[in-house]
């Protein structure tokens, strides 16, 4: 099949004859095109195409024939002979296609295009900030309204999401924070031992986990675990017009979908932070007793001296704000999903990246705030 000849070209002084044969089908299309190009049909003043010996024929063959007949637009004599009756309709159909070229998209010169990109980026960033602010405003109004009419809180939904983002993330949060606490303690012992400052490892673990690491690690975990799932859920609901359906039923999607999710997150994150902090302290204690040779009772006693209630407060105050930021970013990104699967992926990624970035920025702002407050 591969070596079967598709065209026989005979040229004399005034006429080029292209006689087709065999299978003018998709599988041979590339070879057929090359054979015909070799004959340089556009240079001939008269062209005759003989289709009498073509046995198989499909759209590919029909298009290549049509292209041959059209030539390059110069006037010349072209004739098509012995086209089998059964191929007529297909040739007619194909003849109607590829008449108009698609309108080319406008291209801008390189430096201008870059400038346009920068401008678009600034616009996007501004729009992003505006969207977040609008979401905060809309949710504040809804929350206020729900305080007046508590039925609008949708307790079933809140409890469902509390279970998903809270209860179900306990195991992984405990595991991660336990390991982080253990690693900090191990590093502490390894380095502090050189100065004989073993005891201060407990201060290190206690203050670090309660003030910073506990809430930060938990927030990052929650942004990756729950923020992404919020974005994906809302995004796929948007893709399948479920959100439009809610709206046309006279329900506000923010009230039905977003408010319960964010409330659940704001309740769950401080609790997870507490659990995470405990786990980190336990992790530190395990390393202290195994690796540092410190009695557990001594570890606890030392811990009571080292940390104050304000360390704990600093960590816990931050948690609900972190939750709010994660929830807001996740839900706004979810609503920005457009039709394609690709955009769902892009929005989910951007939700997690943005949430983690904002969590860390917020943590920095809090650090400055608390140190100026003397906490």
């Amino acid at each position: 099949m591969g070596s079967q000849s598709l065209v026989i070209c005979t040229a004399d002084a005034e006429q080029l004859t292209i006689a087709g044969s065999g299978a003018w089908t998709a599988d041979n299309a590339a070879r057929l095109e090359a054979c015909i190009d070799d004959a340089r049909p556009n240079d001939a003043s008269r062209l005759e195409v003989d289709m009498g010996e073509v046995e198989e024929f499909d759209t590919y063959g029909a298009w290549i024939l049509e292209r041959l007949m059209r030539g390059d637009g110069r006037p010349r004599q072209v004739s098509l002979v012995r086209l089998p009756e059964k191929f007529h309709d297909l040739v007619e159909d194909v003849r109607r296609t590829n008449r108009t070229a698609p309108t080319p998209s406008r291209r801008i010169a390189w430096p201008l295009a870059r400038l346009a990109d920068i401008g678009r980026g600034v616009e996007l960033a501004a729009a992003e900030a505006l969207r977040l602010a609008a979401m905060v405003g809309a949710l504040a109004v809804l929350f206020g309204g729900a305080l007046v009419a508590p039925r609008r809180f949708r307790s079933t939904s809140i409890v469902h999401h509390l279970d998903r983002v809270g209860v179900r993330s306990v195991p992984i949060i405990v595991l991660i924070t336990l390991l982080i606490g253990a690693i900090i303690a191990q590093q502490g012992f390894f380095h502090f031992r050189q100065f004989g400052a073993d005891d201060y490892v407990v201060d290190l673990v206690g203050i670090l986990t309660l003030r910073e690491i506990g809430v930060l690690i938990v927030s990052i975990m929650v942004a990756g675990r729950s923020g992404s799932s919020y974005t994906a859920e809302l995004g796929s609901m948007k893709m399948r017009e479920e959100i439009d359906a809610l709206r046309t039923m006279g329900r506000n999607p923010l009230e039905v979908l977003v408010l319960p999710r964010i409330i659940a997150l704001v309740v769950a994150l401080p609790l997870l932070t507490l659990i995470g902090a405990i786990a980190a302290l336990v992790g530190g204690g395990i390393v202290a007793s195994i690796y540092g040779g410190m009695e557990p009772s001594l570890y606890v006693a030392r811990l009571r001296e080292a940390v104050s209630i304000s360390d704990f407060e600093v960590g816990m105050i931050k948690a609900p704000f972190m939750a709010l930021v994660i929830g807001l970013v996740a839900c706004t990104e979810g609503f920005r999903v457009s039709g394609s699967a690709e955009s769902l992926g892009a929005r989910t990624t951007s939700s997690v990246v943005k949430a983690i970035f904002l969590v860390i920025v917020l943590d920095g702002i809090f650090a400055m705030f608390f140190s100026s407050m003397g906490m």
């Binding site: 089908t25 998709a26 599988d27 299309a29 590339a30 095109e33 024929f57 499909d58 759209t59 590919y60 298009w63 290549i64 292209r67 059964k86 191929f87 309709d89 297909l90 159909d93 194909v94 109607r96 296609t97 590829n98 108009t100 070229a101 698609p102 309108t103 998209s105 457009s338 039709g339 394609s340 699967a341 690709e342 955009s343």
Partner: protein
């Protein structure tokens, strides 16, 4: 009309498909002849789509044999299966266009995968297919999310036909198209069938499509083919479901009166 002795494109014998304890297709047998357009009708939930998906190898069967162009999926080698998949095109009910590719890229995808065709030829063929299903070249650079329901269906049809397959499976092809577009679609299928010897297996709900497009009709009820044959043969069936489904047609004249 094709005679009964025509070679078989698809042979389904004694097929049983079920989920859990329930069996959806119960010892079903069906033959599709080469070069015919067979329309499958059945109530919602009667297993039409399950039958289609089982033929395509997407759903597992419990028992029975499916042979398409002499290739039995259970016994075929990987190469034989690939060769078979090269020769069929599928139009899914929701279009199933790749949402991250443009319309042109969607149509070019099977061409790019199976043929070594130059980019220019590929684009021209894709454009020809696009225009053959009634869209404009300007639509080619759109993304699937920018298309209307009817346009999605047409693009999906263009993609199913991209490789000029020998057989196409159409799942509810005319739903979502307006009557004029549905008729045009029927004419298109007819043209392709004449020139390519195309075999068409289509699942449909629309009596209009059955009457104008299909050579034969098979009715699926209670997991079995209860009636098969030309429109007039199926109309004579005594099966209660078939009777109620075609009630309107039976009372009306079988073919529209020709204008004077």
């Amino acid at each position: 009309m094709k005679d009964a002795g025509a070679p078989k494109a698809i042979e389904v014998a004694d097929l049983v498909v079920g989920f859990g304890r329930k069996s959806v297709l119960d010892h079903l047998s069906l033959d599709v002849r080469t070069g015919e357009i067979l329309g499958l009708v059945g109530a919602s939930g009667s297993g039409k789509s399950v039958l289609l998906r089982t033929m395509l190898g997407l759903t597992r069967k419990r028992q029975g044999r499916i042979t398409i162009f002499g290739v039995d999926r259970d016994k075929a080698t990987l190469q034989e299966l690939q060769a078979l998949e090269r020769r069929w095109g599928v139009l899914y009910q929701q279009g199933a266009l790749f949402s991250s590719l443009t319309v042109f890229q969607n149509i070019e995808f099977p061409i790019r995968e199976y043929l070594r065709a130059p980019q220019r030829l590929m684009r021209e063929i894709a454009n020809a297919k696009l225009e053959m299903v009634g869209l404009k070249p300007d639509d080619g650079d759109k993304l699937p999310s920018e298309l209307s329901g009817g346009m999605t269906k047409r693009v999906a049809l263009a993609r199913a036909l991209a490789l000029d397959p020998a057989i196409v499976f159409l799942d509810e092809p005319t739903s979502g198209l307006d009557p004029i577009a549905a008729r045009e679609f029927g004419v298109l299928i007819r043209t392709l069938q004449r020139t390519l010897g195309l075999t068409v297996f289509m699942v449909t709900h629309e009596i209009e499509a059955l009457r104008t497009i299909c050579d034969r009709i098979a009715a699926l009820a209670e997991g079995r083919i209860v009636a098969i044959g030309s429109m007039s043969q199926v109309l004579e069936s005594e099966d209660p479901w078939v009777k109620s489904y075609f009630r309107g047609v039976r009372s009306a004249p079988t073919s529209a009166p020709s204008p004077p």
